[in-house]
């Protein structure tokens, strides 16, 4: 199918879906919204796949958008992101059918297909205004979706405000950057921008502005503050769409503007990207490792993964700037592959968390547990996602992190001091991130799903409806496919890299069973590792199977009686060693409330212990800004104190100033 028709399909289905969801009653609404969302996703995938197959598309519609025009261009880079978003949308749409069945709000459901359509169209934008409009439509619709459950929890409102503010701040940076670009280039179509001949200073200003903007969308520290608030508060299919798909558009922006439109740049740009990515990865995973809210944990994990992706892109950009296209293309391919992988497993994980939320009403890991027997399918599927997110073989996250490391460690020969310092640190960051990521997902899976339930809600959990399980199964299958055969994406990635002039260099990875890299002696075979694990495991089971049957026993309670679920290790206690080790960074707050007996202060009635780990970056950076704003408001309020004399005095003063200025500038 041609890309143009696929995009028309996206728009038409989204429009029909939205109208349909508005028109249907509460019973069929989730079905209409879910099916149309999935339909939009299918068309997105079709458009993306066509583009990745080498088709290109470009169209200008001058009748739309006053003061400008609509331009749509789709190349392989756009295609990758269209396909990614479309894929996530298909799964989230299917999931929505069961998830929102009977209680999806009219607004929330009808906006779902529109959100997906906006996201799919963002990478298809071909000029500055079109891009900005679509970008902001996407932001607005996602904001409204985040707010969908505003009546249920007061925290939704705060999350919405934070999200709105941060996304608008990001827009401001992007807007300024792109408009500056367009103005200097003398045209606002991407073609004109690409052909522009600008000074390095201008280009750098543009890049930094744009990076700040896209970075905030991608959840880069310190602009990430909205992400761990908004992603958890949104309904779960929306969380999945935001975390798996929307943040990727930040990556798209960096690639499109940095490597395509600006055509690469000096090395420090990419060093900036690398550092921002590294800091985000580390900070994100640290916060995730101590988070006890499952969806918040997943949100911080998104910051972490986007950090890793941008770290790869940054390193790739650095090498490309040095002329080392082999590593440049490898690292960017690694970043893109990780983006795909992250989309896969984060969709799965957020949907899994949604199922848990739906079944128990809980996001608090400290109160979950025991779901493995109550929601076996969900547990198993979440486990697949957690394995991938922990970047362990045979999960798909492992492959892209492996590629990333390969790219990072091979740059040393022939490098200068900057690279020689940056790369080891980057490897250290990736490694620590990987390690903490493992701990994080062991915690999420181990305390959230295993053992015995820690609350009545968790004990009463029921398995999710079939559509939800099916959607998660699809996501898991996608993860598995990506894990088993990453090399099959080689041609597509090659085509994407061809859209980036300074990086373009043949195909970065190839091979069938074994994943090989071009220009680097390194290989792994995810299939064979999986097969090996399977065979070895089977052997062990078969060999050991003989003998006495398994028996159930009481757990050892140090000689005490049967253990209470309250005595189980919780997520908080699991993360305690990490909290202590990273005390200086996390600065946890402890509250101990001791209630004494009425009769004697030496007898204790109860002890309450609470630990809170706030986002320290947020606490350090944002309150001063808000305080400055309030100060400004307070100062200016004094001008408006109600006295008409003061108002008139202001006028007279203004008049005098104007007269003086007119006199002086004569």
């Amino acid at each position: 199918m041609s890309i143009g028709w696929a995009l028309v399909g996206v728009l038409v289905i989204a429009g029909l879906g939205a109208l349909g969801a508005v028109a249907t009653g509460s019973r069929g609404r989730a079905l209409v919204a879910g099916v149309s969302t999935a339909g939009v996703g299918v068309f997105g995938v079709l458009a993306g796949v066509s583009a990745l197959g080498g088709e290109a598309f470009s169209k200008t519609i001058p009748q739309l958008l006053p003061l400008s025009e609509v331009t749509v261009t789709v190349d392989a880079l756009s295609g990758l992101f269209c396909a990614l978003i479309g894929g996530v949308a298909v799964i989230a749409g299917l999931y929505n059918i069961g998830y929102s069945d009977g209680h999806g709000s009219r607004t929330g459901q009808s906006l779902l297909p529109l959100f997906v359509a906006a996201m799919i169209l963002v990478p298809a934008a071909g000029n500055v205004t079109t891009f900005l409009v679509l970008w902001e439509v996407m932001a607005l619709v996602s904001l409204m979706l985040v707010l969908a459950e505003h009546r249920l929890r007061p925290s939704v409102r705060d999350a919405g405000v934070w999200y709105a503010a941060m996304t608008h701040a990001g827009l401001v940076a992007i807007l300024l950057g792109l408009v500056l670009f367009a103005s200097k280039a003398g045209g606002e179509s991407f073609t004109a921008l690409r052909d522009a001949d600008l000074s390095t200073t201008t280009r750098s200003v543009i890049f930094v502005l744009v990076f700040v903007g896209f970075g905030s969308k991608a959840g880069m520290v310190p602009l990430h503050v909205w992400l761990p608030r908004a992603h958890p508060e949104a309904p779960s299919p929306v969380s999945a769409l935001m975390s798996a798909a929307m943040v990727k558009l930040g990556l798209y922006g960096v690639l499109r503007v940095g490597l395509d439109l600006l055509g690469g740049g000096p090395r420090w740009w990419w060093l900036l990207v690398l550092v921002a990515g590294g800091v985000s990865a580390l900070f994100g995973v640290l916060q995730a490792s101590v988070a006890v809210d499952l969806k918040r944990l997943l949100g911080y994990s998104t910051t972490e993964n986007m950090g890793l992706i941008l770290l790869g892109v940054g390193a790739g950009g650095m090498f490309a700037a040095d002329g080392n296209r082999t590593l440049g293309s490898l690292l960017i391919a690694a970043g893109l592959l990780h983006a795909l992988n992250h989309a896969g497993f984060k969709t799965l994980l957020f949907l899994g968390a949604g199922s848990v939320l739906r079944a128990t009403g809980l996001r608090d890991l400290d109160r979950l547990g025991g779901l493995v027997s109550r929601m076996p399918a969900t547990t198993a599927l979440f486990g697949v996602g957690a394995l991938a997110a922990a970047a362990l073989p045979p999960g798909n996250g492992f492959v892209s992190e492996w590629l990333l490391l390969q790219g990072l460690i091979h740059g040393l020969p022939g490098a200068d001091a900057v690279v020689a310092v940056a790369m080891p640190l980057a490897v250290g960051v990736v490694a620590l991130t990987a390690g903490l990521g493992v701990a994080t997902f062991v915690k999420a899976f181990g305390t959230g799903f295993l053992a015995r339930p820690r609350s009545e809600e968790a004990a009463g959990a029921k398995e999710s409806p079939r559509t939800m399980r099916f959607a998660m199964l699809v996501a898991a299958a996608v993860c598995a496919g990506l894990a088993i055969s990453p090399a099959s994406l080689g041609p597509a990635l090659t085509r994407v890299l061809e859209a980036l002039p300074t990086v373009r260099d043949g195909s970065p990875l190839e091979g069938g069973v074994t994943l090989r890299l071009t220009g680097i002696a390194g290989s792994i075979s995810p299939v064979l590792i999986l097969a090996g694990l399977f065979v070895a495991g089977l052997l062990v089971v078969v060999l050991v199977r003989r003998g006495l049957p398994r028996r159930e026993s009481l757990v050892w309670g140090c000689g005490g009686t049967r253990l209470d679920p309250r005595m189980e290790y919780t997520a908080t206690s699991f993360a305690e060693p990490l909290t202590r080790v990273f005390d200086d960074v996390l600065r946890p707050e402890h509250d101990v409330d001791v209630t004494h007996h009425a009769e004697s202060q030496y007898l204790i009635e109860s002890v309450r212990y609470r630990q809170r780990v706030d986002d320290r970056v947020e606490a350090a950076l944002y309150p001063p800004v808000l305080a400055a704003g309030n100060k400004l408001g307070a100062v200016l309020s004094r001008l408006q104190n109600g006295s008409v004399h003061r108002y008139l005095a202001l006028g007279l003063g203004g008049l005098i100033v104007v007269l003086v200025v007119v006199g002086l500038t004569a």
């Binding site: 547990g369 493995v372 362990l392 492996w402 490391l405 390969q406 460690i409 040393l412 020969p413 020689a420 080891p424 490897v427 250290g428 960051v429 990736v430 490694a431 620590l432 990987a434 390690g435 903490l436 493992v438 701990a439 062991v442 181990g446 295993l450 053992a451 015995r452 074994t514 680097i520 002696a521 390194g522 290989s523 792994i524 075979s525 590792i529 090996g532 694990l533 070895a536 495991g537 052997l539 062990v540 050991v544 006495l548 398994r550 028996r551 159930e552 026993s553 009481l554 757990v555 050892w556 309670g557 140090c558 253990l563 679920p565 189980e568 290790y569 699991f574 060693p577 202590r580 080790v581």
Partner: protein, 312 residues
């Protein structure tokens, strides 16, 4: 013929692993003035355990049951793909240094999940501590790997070993030495040996590894014990071959393989003995001093990488 190398290697490791533990215990016993149970005792223990019935704590799930198998399987895969005896292997391209590290971590994760699945405080405590240590050890491992592979231009284990054989001088380069120290610390941490963990303790508050497996019994416990021995062997073997690559077969001929087997057994035995001897003179660190140790090893890793660049 090279396939034979793989089989030999896997069988060798399976056989040797419990003996290695036995040797180490024996060395330790002797140094402490005890007679010791002999190097074969671990095998005898395993045989006994394999015959006993496995038990699952109430409320635990398939994760608890599957974990030992995953642990053994992941270690076996490492045993198959790494160049312990020979560098020529049909499985050479399957897993490189990073993949091996990740597979080790996979085993750790399986056991940690099992620990959490028991629902006891001990299991959770062990899992939590084990994951903390593993997470903090990760940067050191990868940086040491970086230092080693930077010299060779590949993370492929065979390539690193072969390069070591071809240019013995490089083994004594600052980068390699620093990486060796760094990795040694990590091997100790990963294998759960002193001063990070005490494999023979059963005092709840000091346990890491043992706390996780507290609920295992019978053949489950046998698998866990076996896997832990195998992991120790694999770790020592890897360390030995990365830094002392001599003797590893580079062709698939029978004599070369034989030499490889002998060299491997010797190296691992010596290293095990040294490790055991060292443990006699060492006390376990407080858990919250372990990160300091790992930070130190991380520093060595960084120095290793930068010296491979700045001093090369």
């Amino acid at each position: 013929m090279s396939t034979l190398g793989v089989v030999v290697q896997v069988v060798l490791l399976i056989v040797v692993a419990p003996y290695l533990v036995g040797v180490m215990r024996q060395v330790r016993a002797r140094l402490e003035g005890r007679a010791g149970a002999g190097a074969g005792q671990p095998w005898r223990d395993l045989r006994k355990l394999f015959r006993k019935e496995p038990m699952s704590p109430a409320g635990s799930s398939w994760v608890f049951v599957a974990a030992p198998a995953v642990l053994v399987a992941s270690t076996l895969v490492i045993a198959a793909v790494s160049p312990f005896v020979a560098t020529v292997s049909p499985l050479d391209g399957v897993a490189d240094l990073f993949a091996v590290v990740a597979l080790l971590l996979l085993g750790t994760v399986a056991l940690a999940l099992a620990g959490l699945d028991t629902g006891t405080a001990f299991g959770g405590m062990g899992a939590s501590r084990e994951m903390t240590v593993a997470a903090l050890a990760e940067p050191t491992i990868l940086l040491a790997g970086f230092a080693l592979s930077a010299r060779v231009g590949s993370t492929n284990l065979s390539a690193i070993v072969e390069r070591g054989q071809q240019s013995p001088g490089a083994v004594l380069s600052p980068a390699t030495l620093l990486a060796a120290v760094a990795l040694a610390v990590v091997v100790v941490a990963e294998a759960g040996r002193l001063p990070v963990d005490n494999p023979s303790t059963h005092l709840e508050l000091t346990m890491i590894h043992e706390a996780m497996v507290l609920e295992y019994a019978g053949r489950d416990l046998a698998l866990v014990e076996f896997a832990s021995a195998l992991r120790l062997t694999v770790l020592l073997g890897l360390w030995a071959n990365l830094f002392l690559p001599w003797g590893v077969a580079t062709t698939a001929s029978a004599p070369a393989l034989l030499l490889g087997v002998v060299a491997f057994v010797a190296k691992v035995a010596v290293l095990g003995a040294v490790l055991a001897a060292g443990e006699v003179f060492m006390a376990k660190l407080r858990l919250f001093r372990v990160p300091e140790l790992l930070a130190g090893s991380f520093l060595f890793g960084v120095l290793a990488v930068s010296s491979s660049f700045f001093l090369a």
